[in-house]
């Protein structure tokens, strides 16, 4: 009787294990399919339409009708907006992360952490809508920008959106430091701020690098919030308040109108492939940063 039970349960085990393995394998299959499909479709620009890689990447001429697939404008736009976001949101986020890990009393933490969680949950459309209804008019009235749309608006919205990522990862980086480090510094007569800047920050550097890299990843991949406030003009931004476009916003703006098989459509897929490759590079960077820690 027990032997029969044992055999039956062993079969259940094997079946279950098989099912689980398939599920895990599904993850790999998805990633592979993504790379293959987008790789195939995204390289049609080069193989079917015979556009050179250089032209695609570096030519600023992008004309929907004129058959020009240069995406330099959008690459620059993406980089510019991301740079703005990480330059503003990065230090701010790390600072608040330090605050949460080292300074905040319990009552403050119990208000701040749920607030940050809420910020994560707010959909990007809503951030875009907030930017559209609040920020853009503000910029319009207070600066030289004619309509308010542009790099600055997108950059500010994006800075706010990456804050939760940078804050929580920075906080984790500090909390995972051994307490002996802090005690050793304080026992030598350092103030708390000296301990943070001279001992804790250098020790947590790889964790902070991860926080910033993932913040950058979030920024590069953001689409709608930026698209609603950036102005969507196919021009390289001459100033902070000039409207421009990024890789992601361009895809969203022009894909609905792109005919299947057209050069435009192929270019947009190439841009998507570019974004995918950038994401993978960032992942590799994160792994490198983590390896440096151990």
């Amino acid at each position: 009787m027990i032997a029969l039970q044992a055999r039956r349960s062993r079969r259940v085990e094997r079946l279950a294990l098989f099912g689980l393995r398939v599920a895990a394998g599904f993850v790999i299959v998805t990633m592979a399919a993504l790379l293959l499909y987008l790789g195939f479709e995204g390289t049609k620009t080069f193989f079917a339409d015979h556009v050179s890689l250089g032209t695609f990447l570096f030519s600023p001429a992008f004309g929907v009708d004129a058959g020009q697939p240069g995406s330099a404008v959008f690459v620059i736009g993406s980089l510019a907006v991301t740079l703005f976001a990480i330059a503003v949101g990065g230090p701010f986020g790390v600072a608040v992360g330090i605050f949460l890990a080292e300074i905040a009393p319990h009552r403050m933490t119990s208000v701040l952490k749920p607030a940050i969680e809420l910020m994560v949950g707010i959909p990007s459309v809503v951030y875009g809508w907030l930017g559209l209804t609040l920020l853009v008019p503000l910029i319009r009235t207070h600066t030289s920008s004619p309509a308010g749309f542009g790099l600055a608006a997108a950059g500010i919205v994006l800075s706010i959106m990456i804050l939760p990522t940078v804050i929580t990862l920075s906080e984790d980086a500090f909390r995972s430091l051994p307490a002996a480090l802090k005690e050793g510094s304080l026992a030598l007569g350092a103030t708390r701020w000296q301990t943070i800047t001279r001992v804790l920050l250098p020790s947590a550097s790889s964790g902070i690098a991860v926080a910033l890299i993932l913040g950058i990843a979030r920024a590069i991949g953001e689409t709608l919030a930026i698209q609603m406030v950036i102005g969507n003009a196919t021009q390289i931004p001459a100033s902070l308040f000039a409207p421009t476009a990024t890789l992601t916003t361009e895809i969203v703006t022009d894909m609905p109108g792109a005919a299947q098989g057209s050069l435009l459509e192929h270019s947009l897929f190439s841009m998507a492939l570019l974004l995918l490759l950038m994401a993978m590079v960032l992942i590799v960077l994160v792994r490198l940063a983590l390896r440096r820690r151990t």
């Binding site: 002996a180 005690e183 510094s185 304080l186 026992a187 030598l188 007569g189 001992v199």
Partner: protein, 266 residues
Amino acid sequence: MIKSPPVTAELPLDTIENKLVADNVNVFYGAFQAIKHASLTMRGQHVTALIGPSGCGKTTFLRALNRMHDLTPGARVEGSILLDGEDIYGPDADPVVIRHRIGMVFQRANPFPKTIYENAVYGPRIHGERDKRVLDEIAERALRQAALWDEVKDRLNRSALVLSGGQQQRLCIARAVALNPEVILMDEPASALDPIATSKIEDLIGQLTEQFTVVIVTHSMQQAARISDFTAFFHIGEIVEVGPTNQIFTHPKEKRTEDYITGRFG
């Protein structure tokens, strides 16, 4: 190993005999009282050992001596602790200054992830010393005092984390003496080390008393007997007995002390 007659409370408070004096100290963690009415005179340029079973409060008492409990939320210290006659818990007393004069070495070596040189000069640096030449001198002096100089003088710019456990602990001692403190508190400094490294640290402690006052927590009675001049026996948060080490170990006056020393508990 006693160099002068035992300590008496009749001597004025700012003499070397009464370098560090704890007077009726109570330490609370929230509602729990960890140290009860502890009074102890730690004599200048001698080694005072704090012994007792686990959980008896000896580390808690030690950490009160350099105001480390300020860092623990919910911890409270009552009573006074006098350094050269001045209460370190007084209204004018500044913990940063106190920790300059009373240094601490921890149970597990905790060098910073910096170079050996940077570890050694961290203390002087944060207290404002910027002159490279002065820092170099301090580094050499401190590392010599910690009996580490010969082993590391050629690799001062290597990371401190490549050193062995015993070397790291001596680096931490160097880090503490670089500030020229007057008192060095040691919390079981050799408990994580092998016997050879331990004996090196013990020799070092003997040399340190030429300049510093040492208070050391140890769970090893043999260690206390080897290196200390005076011993205080702690039990459940109280100081049961204190006296010259020789006397504590050969003719303890309290039954609890005798029981502990003969291994009946702890």
